[in-house]
Amino acid sequence: MIELQLKAARDSFHLNIECTLAAPWTVIFGPSGAGKSTLLRLIAGLDRLNKPDSGRISVHGQYVADTRTGLHIPPGKRSIGLVAQQSALFPHLNVAANVAYGIANRIANMDRDARQQRVSSMLELVGASHLADRSPRALSGGEAQRISLARALAPMPQLLLLDEPMSALDAEARDEVLTRLQTWLLEQKIQTVLVTHDAADALATAAEVAVLREGKLAALGPASIVLADERNRLLVRLNSDGAFTTIV
């Protein structure tokens, strides 16, 4: 569960959010520039709440940032995984070493075999077992995003933040990976927050949706209610071949 009380000024807008994200799978939906990525960076700890910002962030009952006390827990100690649009794979490490990177940092006393087993299972989860020995430079955009996802999951974080993580995959591959991932994350009880500006993605995966507009929370609730208008707009655009055209 994530509790947010935020008033933060950034270059182009003010983030003003007060809400609790309790669902195991939440989608933050909003247009570009609404503050979605900034919000994820604040939750992850990559951006700090500095004066004149005010507020606090709690993840699973533990405060990770609080401007009243000056608390800022470093990103690596928050047990949060973040996968962004930019895969950010370490170019000097092969795929398996990239996936293994966070395991030793986050999990004490894990032996070599267990670590390799974890790397293999994560690569299998994202359908990339055959890429283990490859260089990140030799991967396509979609493959790199899959590896980035496996790397974020390998230390088994308590919270996974996904910032349009499948943008480089075609729709079919994206649906397949997201469906498999959603099932696995629910089994593992890893809370997930997915950021997207694509209404089809939001409707396909969401149990709960938070709509963000100009740094403010416009709505929070079940996808079927909160995104009813978006759903209707998508249905209207259903063409004669039965294919959807996203208009968001």
């Binding site: 370490f90 000097h92 092969n94 070493a97 293994a100 990177y101 004490a108 260089s135 790397r151």
Partner: protein
């Protein structure tokens, strides 16, 4: 050719470069990633030897390390001899004098690394030491090579600091630059030409190495493990 002076000069440059790399990597990481308000002052102090006349630096080091200060007396008691007019004193002076030549290329190399890679490492639990060792240093290999070569060459050719702090003691503080100065002062232009040509050739060869952009330091061989400590699960 004064082989003793050549050997001493190379020894001084090698030791200075090794010490500088040990100091410059963490200092450059702090200057690049740190959030302290003191960073600006540290950056200015680091760059000071670039603009300060070497004789000024040499003079203050001579005073600081001499018997007039508590630090100088403490070092004399500890070593059994004063740092001034000794090889160790030359090393201290050279490290300070060549500091910007080591720090600035490494700062530039670290600053050029994609910030998303640094964010990724921090999110995956890398502390500052591990971040430097497993991400910054491997990805800034060429900057480290440049820093090492520039530091070495700068130390090789230093004159003012050496003369002020070390004087001209054969086998202890007489470097090739001092030998060259002595040869010119004694109108021995033929010997001076040999000494100067040796230094010139050395510098050209070393700078060629910098600009040759060796491929193995640009991308590096692909690693199959993030770091040696992974096998044992050690933490920074």
């Amino acid at each position: 050719m004064d082989w003793q002076a050549l050997a001493l000069t190379l020894k001084l440059a090698a030791i200075t470069t090794a010490i500088l790399l040990c100091i410059a990597v963490p200092l450059a990481a702090w200057l690049t990633l740190g959030r302290s308000r003191w960073r600006v002052i540290a950056e200015a102090l680091t760059g000071l030897p670039l603009v300060l006349p070497p004789t000024v630096l040499g003079f203050y080091l001579l005073v600081l390390l001499g018997p007039r200060t508590g630090l100088g007396r403490a070092i004399t008691t500890m070593l059994g001899h004063p740092l001034a007019f000794s090889f160790e004193g030359l090393v201290v002076g050279s490290v300070i004098y060549s500091l910007p030549f080591a720090v600035q290329p490494i700062v530039a190399g670290f600053a050029a690394i994609d910030g998303s890679l640094i964010d990724a490492a921090r999110l995956l639990g890398a502390g500052p030491i591990r971040l430097v060792r497993t991400v910054l240093v491997p990805l800034a290999g060429r900057s480290l090579l440049t820093a090492a070569i520039l530091s070495f060459l700068h130390t090789l050719g230093e004159f003012g600091v050496v003369l002020m702090l070390g004087g001209d003691i054969p086998g202890a503080t007489r470097t090739l630059s001092i030998v060259l100065f002595n040869q010119v002062e004694g109108f021995d232009y033929s010997a001076a030409n040999h000494t100067a040509a040796t230094l010139l050739l050395f510098c050209i060869l070393a700078l060629t190495l910098v600009y040759a952009r060796p491929k193995n330091l640009l991308g590096g061989p692909l690693r199959t493990s993030p770091g040696k400590d992974h096998a044992g699960g050690r933490h920074d």
